[in-house]
Amino acid sequence: MQLIHDPLPRRTQVILGIVGVVGFVAVLEMVIRSGLVSGAGLPLPSAVAEQVVDLLGDGEFWTQIGFTLRQWLLGLAIASVAGIILGGLMGAVPTIFAMFLLPVEILRPLPSIAVGPLLVLLLGAGMLPLSLTVALACMWPILFNSMYAARAVDPVAIQTARTLHVSRAGILMQIRLPAALPFMFTGIRVAASIGLIVAVSAELLFGSGQGIGGYILVASTNASNLDGVYAATLVAGVLGVLVTAVLASIDRLAFGWKEGLAQ
């Protein structure tokens, strides 16, 4: 079929992507070096790159990356378990839907970052209040995807299972859950990138100096090390890209059968 625009060949796409990144960096470097835009604290790409190399050679910074990743993963895990169970049940059982819809709608617009300081007060410093802040932000896309996924399970598949003598619990675990899992996972994918942003922000705003956010906070109080701030921010961004890529491959590997639904 002739599309309005033929998709570009894979190789061309990759080359264009590289050209875009390199071009942006080169223009930024030129604009700042030429003095076209001047001012203290502008990120000179070459200086930031140098800092990134320094940071990555620093074992202490890796410890901070590790902290952020664990903090984020814990939050995402809490949100996934809570979101899938509550969302799945809300989708599958009308009475549970009726009971929980209002509380969910009231809690959803709360900015998790605003709740974070309260959690620190209640739970003390450490990873847990940060992770719970992440969980609070990650929960909603997972919950809503799970709810709609459980609700959208094909009634013919469920009837089929009933004629095959599958019990009610069996239908939940063997039909509804596997049918809904890929869409639940889409919720987790969406939540993961939100969660990483919240994880670094929480460290920055009410953490105890740990994690990438904590590093940025400490480095930015020292005005001479602004390139370090940019470098750490860049690393956080790259981390986000990696997380997205890893989750996309898991999606392809585990839920390849979704392709079949497109027919």
């Binding site: 094909d154 013919v156 598949a157 009837q159 089929t160 009933r162 004629t163 095959l164 003598h165 039909i175 596997p178 049918a179 899992l181 059968w257 392709e259 079949g260 639904l261 027919q263």
Partner: protein, 271 residues
């Protein structure tokens, strides 16, 4: 349940006794009584909206009748009877897309048989529907006709005594439809099971059936029960040329249109 697949259990007889079904004010099924004889192919045919699918849901125990009862080998149906297997019209929705073909077919056996026994029965069932060697595929990698074969294989893996099919070939092309009709007839003869098919296709009803149960418009009742004496094995070309086929086909069509006269039935045996 026997352990050996070649020892097919005896076919079941199904009796419908004064079934009715009312949804609110809407009377879908008026009063249906009929016997689905053991080891034969019976076809329920009726105009659209005649409650055919509702009747099947009652027969398969998925839904309760407002009054009347269904007897499966003399026992009142209350929930899906053991020994009944169902094939749905929507094969693509009835097969589980996250399972390979072999796992779909093995699904009804998951707690009933050892692993080796399951593997053997899946292979047998796939062979019976002409899909040997296709077990590793996913259903959605197959054509519609092949998917419906998988659904039939899954039903056969249960070693049913009664195979119930709801408009099983309504979503496939005419060529595939003819192939699947013949596949059903050869399986039925080979395994000696009772088959009950619901269809709106008159040719198909006559071609498949030992007994045709013609339903009226809702609230549906049995207009007539016709025993078809056409010889077996049947053939898509020669059977359909026989006088009895042509007359039975015309008679069923007139019944559905409500223009039948007693004379029309002179060439068919009315039970």
């Amino acid at each position: 349940m026997t352990d050996h697949a070649t020892e097919q259990p005896a076919p079941a007889e199904l009796v419908l006794e004064q079934i009715s079904k009312t949804y609110g004010q809407n009377r879908a099924i008026g009063d249906i009584s009929a016997t689905i004889p053991a080891g034969k192919v019976s076809v329920i045919v009726g105009p659209s909206g005649a409650g055919k699918t509702t009747l099947l849901r009652i027969i398969t125990g998925l839904e309760e009748a407002t009054s009347g009862r269904v007897l499966f080998d003399g026992e009142v149906v209350n929930g899906v009877p053991e020994g009944l297997a169902m094939v749905f019209q929507d094969y693509s929705r009835s097969l589980f897309p996250w399972m390979r073909v072999e796992d779909n077919v093995a699904f009804p056996l998951r707690r009933r048989a050892s692993k080796a026994e399951r593997t053997r029965r899946v292979a047998e069932a796939l062979q019976a529907v002409g899909l040997d060697g296709k077990g590793r595929l996913y259903p959605w990698q197959m054509s519609g006709g092949m998917q419906q074969r998988v659904a039939i294989a899954r039903a056969l893996a249960c070693q049913p005594r009664l195979l119930v099919m709801d408009e099983p070939y309504a979503s496939v092309d005419a060529q595939t439809r003819a192939e699947l009709e013949d596949l059903l007839l050869s399986i039925q003869a080979q395994l000696d099971i009772t088959v009950l098919v619901v269809t709106h296709d008159i040719d198909e009803s006559v071609y498949l059936a030992d007994r045709i149960i013609v339903l009226s418009k809702p609230p549906s009742t049995v207009t007539e029960v016709i025993d078809v004496g056409l010889a077996r094995p049947r053939d898509q070309i020669t059977t359909k040329e026989e006088a009895e086929f042509v007359h039975a086909r015309a008679h069923v069509l007139r019944l559905l249109r409500g223009t039948a006269t007693p004379d029309d039935a002179s060439d068919v045996r009315v039970a």
